[in-house]
């Protein structure tokens, strides 16, 4: 016990030793990431989407094998072939999307997770064990109600109970608070602290800085697969963490500034944007709800003028998605006004919005942007398939013209594919995105709404897409660029709005911001705002 309380050099429970993960499509999700987990500790794993947090924890919990590197326990190297083996070893993971059978009760769900082939399911026994466990952990859920009838917070508790009932030593929680109400978050944190006192190790995946500060002992920051920070929470400031997360590691800040200054002069050549009156896109007091009914966009007003890029920066999940969806016809907002060249676009069908000259590069190219089993040609007319160019009399599609159009797109946007009839799912991520960008820009739009346009792309494709956006801006189009990549926004936007909890903390030119203040604003540090005022 005593050596657990004061972990010695070897007092770790599990260690990730220089783990690299390359997915089969060539994406490098982790680069030489190392992480040591000790008992009596809550580690916050901080990073943007795609930073590699989930990949790292999946490797630790046996869901994925590492490409290189190893997982080490005090007894030697461990290799998990399945999550079950990891569970037997004492590692349990609670996923963001719960793995519960909705029509089963909590007891049945837990019993199911204990099930082995040919052993049968022992509900009564499980119930007894669960009652004892609930007493012990203070984690109470109704055992005999189908879990689909439980609140989300309760369902999560069932998941945690499921893992705890296997007597784990390391509990990994993937974004556990994203679905919880503030009260439920408090309850969860109380529980986590108690588990920590009992000697368990906990990894908390999150991108919310506030949570990290309030519960973790140590913070590990990942950025684009690389470990950029491993600090004691008490010694790190929120701004510092925000910088690590969205900016770059402190030590190579010099490099990064160089990189961005290299692009900045090229990016901003036009200063003669006329910003009088209403912009091409005019938004006033927009309020929209998120999927769970919470206010996600909280009274935002802004204008985007022709010939400028208006950037929206911020940690993801602060209302950016809902803002974009409201402006592109995919979400009906609660109130407010939004117009394009004076015509209302709120609650209007996407098809009519496109007619007004809106191009939408959606944040999720697989779910929203493409019909993956469709061919290139079929995808190239999604949203414009009713335009005269492609649709003849009797609603017949002009396949000849469509094929020509696709060939032009493939040429102009350098889309690598076997031909117009190749299925979109056979393309690489970069080429899929180029297809979407090409399709949208071919609409000859007045305004381009680009949401995370370069996420997950290799450097070449990302650069190409950014250049294309700059060209469109120089051609006098208005561009709304929403991105979680802070460098991208700062380097390309003419004006930036920094979003936090559904509001703009600040709208200004990127030159007026330094990295530190951006970090603070993104973390919701109101002092920064007050100082500025």
């Amino acid at each position: 016990m005593s050596d657990q309380a004061t972990p010695s050099k070897n007092g770790f429970f599990l260690k990730a030793d220089r783990i690299t993960k390359v997915y089969s499509d060539g994406t490098v999700a982790l680069k030489e990431a190392s992480l040591e987990i000790r008992p009596h500790e809550i580690v916050g794993l901080l990073g943007e989407n795609g930073a590699g947090k989930t990949t790292l924890t999946k490797i630790l919990s046996g869901l994925l094998p590492p490409t290189r590197g190893r997982v080490v326990s005090p007894k030697g190297v461990v290799r998990f072939v399945s999550p079950r083996e990891a569970l037997d070893f004492g590692i349990g993971m609670v996923h963001q999307h719960f793995a519960l059978v909705g029509t089963f009760t909590a007891a049945e769900n837990v019993a199911l997770s204990h099930d082995r082939p040919f052993t049968g399911i022992r509900i009564a026994e499980t119930r007894q064990d669960l009652n004892a466990l609930m007493e012990e952990s203070g984690l109470h859920v109704p055992l005999d109600v189908p879990v689909e009838k439980l609140a989300v917070g309760e369902q999560q508790r069932v998941e945690i109970l499921k893992v705890l009932s296997r007597d784990v030593d390391l509990l990994i929680l993937d974004e556990p608070t994203s679905v919880l109400t503030p009260l439920e978050v408090d309850e969860l944190f109380t529980l986590l602290r108690r588990l920590k006192d009992e000697g368990k190790s906990i990894i908390l995946i999150t991108h919310k800085l506030k949570e990290v500060g309030s519960i973790t002992d140590r913070v590990v920051v990942l950025r684009q697969g690389e470990m950029v920070g491993d600090v004691k929470t008490a010694e790190a400031s929120t701004e510092q963490l925000a910088r690590l997360m969205v900016g770059q590691a402190l030590e190579d800040e010099a490099d990064a500034v160089e990189l961005s200054t290299e692009e900045i002069p090229h990016a901003r050549t036009q200063s003669d944007v006329d910003r009088t009156g209403e912009g091409i896109l005019h938004v006033e007091n927009l309020i929209a709800k998120g999927n769970t009914g919470e206010i996600a966009v909280d009274g935002i007003s802004f204008d985007v003028y022709g010939g400028e890029i208006f950037g929206v920066a911020g940690v993801e999940g602060n209302g950016q998605t809902e803002l974009v969806e409201s402006l592109t016809g995919l979400r009906v907002p609660v109130s407010g006004t939004a117009t394009i060249n004076g015509t209302n676009i709120l609650g209007v069908d996407p098809r009519q919005i496109y007619r007004l000259g809106v191009a939408h590069i959606p944040e999720d190219r697989w779910e929203l942007g493409l019909v993956l089993p469709f061919t290139l040609a079929e995808n190239a007319i999604l949203g414009v398939h009713r335009w005269e160019e492609f649709r003849g009399p009797l609603s017949f599609l002009r396949w000849g013209k469509i094929t020509q159009h696709v060939r032009r797109l493939m040429d102009r946007f350098d889309i690598q594919a076997t031909g117009p009839n190749a299925p979109a799912k056979s393309l690489s991520g970069g080429n899929q995105q180029k297809l979407i960008v090409g399709r949208e820009l071919a609409k000859d739009p007045a305004i381009i709404v680009a949401s995370q346009p370069t996420r997950g792309l290799d450097i070449g494709a990302a650069h190409y897409i950014r250049q294309t956006l700059l060209e469109m801006r120089d051609a006098g189009r208005a561009i709304l660029l929403v991105s979680a990549d802070l460098d991208e926004v700062l380097a390309h936007a003419d004006r930036v709005g920094i979003m936090y909890e559904g509001k703009f903390m600040e709208v200004c030119s990127p030159e007026e911001l330094d990295r530190e203040r951006v970090g603070m604003l993104m973390g919701g540090a109101t002092e920064a705002r007050r100082e500025a005022e």
Binding site: D349, E367, L370, V371, E378, F390, S395, F396
Partner: protein, 386 residues
């Protein structure tokens, strides 16, 4: 020249690879048919029949001559349409199990032409319109329930099948009944019948209704913006919404088209199947029964593609027509039910998703083989160029 050859070579290799690993849909259907027939053969063998002779009888009975081919085509006629019902809705992402009921309603509605007089041609069209309308109405109701109340279309269409069945039976026995011969409904007047296409057989011009409708659906789905929307909404509703497609509309459209197809299927039987040209109420609508469900099997084997359905319907029509012959085949009378066993086995095999995944080892092996072949060709090319 050698460059061209190598691309041809690699293309062939890629083609072979795709065939072996992904299995071309048509091949998969063929494989399912073969496995189905094999299962039937094994069962026949177990029960002491001679499978070879039975299948010879089946093939002869199905395609042995112009009479046999006509019988097969005649049996394929309604199946093409009920298969289209299932496929159109599946393409829009819905499971429409209701072809059976919609077909009953169409059949009943087409009997109404017996109540008025029209010149030939118009009279047939009137009957088809009635049937199409009745089928469509029966299809819209589950779609409405789905949109307004969130009722699963699988459940509601199945329930509507039963409502339609009893309603049709009631109407056939008590309302549109032939007062002279109460076991059947009024007969379709001669001016509204589809004439027989091949003399002495029960193949009528009604088959052109089926083929034409299949072609219409093909052009609609693959060559019009409307069909494009239906397919997009079926494959990815979220992306469809992003593309300005109203998913509810595509869903309604698919149910209406499906209902029309099933309604017409009923009409092809009532107006186009000699010699009765009426619906027999006695015995529970024996002429119509199960055509809707068999259509689903045809749709699966036809890979939910109108052209594939035409081929698959001919195959199933052949099974039905040939099965009767198999039954009376000399010393080897295999019961007709065996044909249904074969059909069932085919459907089972078809429902195994991506058949080839049962043999992941085989897949891996072929991949390795093709990889090494490629390396070899590349090496020889290099040598040549050197």
């Amino acid at each position: 020249m050698s460059g061209n050859e190598s691309t041809l070579q690699s293309r062939l290799l890629r083609g072979a690879h795709r065939t072996l690993t992904g299995l071309h849909p048509a091949l998969e259907s063929l494989l399912a048919a073969v496995v189905g027939l094999l299962v039937g053969a094994i069962l026949m063998y177990i029960y002491g029949f001679d499978p070879w002779r039975a299948y010879m009888g089946l093939v002869k009975g199905a395609f042995g001559g112009s009479y046999e081919i006509s019988s097969s085509l005649s049996r394929a006629t309604p199946l093409i349409l009920t298969a289209l019902t299932f496929s159109i809705c599946l393409r829009s992402g819905m499971f429409n199990i209701g072809a059976e009921g919609q077909m009953y309603m169409g059949g009943i509605a087409s009997v109404l032409v017996a109540y008025f007089v029209l010149p030939t041609g118009l009279h047939q069209i009137a009957g088809l319109l009635f049937a199409a309308f009745a089928g469509a109405v029966w299809g819209i109701v589950p779609a409405l329930l789905k949109v307004t109340r969130g009722v699963s279309e699988v459940i509601s269409t199945i329930m509507f099948n039963w409502i339609a069945r009893w309603l049709a039976l009631y109407l056939a026995i008590f309302v549109i009944v032939d007062p002279m011969r109460t076991e059947k409904t009024l007969s379709i007047p001669v001016s509204a019948r589809f004439p027989v296409l091949v003399r002495g057989t029960d193949l009528s011009y009604a088959i052109f209704v089926s083929i034409a409708f299949a072609l219409v659906i093909y052009f609609l789905l693959w060559h019009t913006a409307i069909g494009y929307e239906v397919r997009a909404a079926g494959l990815n509703p979220t992306a469809a919404r992003y593309g300005g497609i109203r998913n509810k509309r595509t869903m309604f459209l698919s149910f209406i088209l499906g209902g029309i197809a099933a309604g017409l299927a009923g009409a092809t039987i009532v107006m186009g199947l000699p010699p009765t040209y009426a619906i027999y109420g006695g015995g529970g609508l024996p002429q119509l029964m199960n055509l809707g469900f068999d259509g689903m099997a045809v749709a699966m084997v036809g890979r939910n593609h109108p052209i594939g359905i035409l081929v698959a319907a001919l195959f199933f029509g052949g099974l039905n027509a040939g099965g009767r012959v198999m039954q009376f085949y000399g010393s080897n009378p295999v019961p007709l039910e065996m044909v249904r066993v074969v059909m069932g086995a085919i459907v089972l095999v078809m429902s195994i998703p991506e058949l080839i995944r049962i043999f992941p080892m085989a897949k891996k092996r072929t991949e390795e083989l093709i990889g090494s072949l490629r390396r070899l060709t590349r090496r020889s090319e290099r040598r040549e160029s050197a």
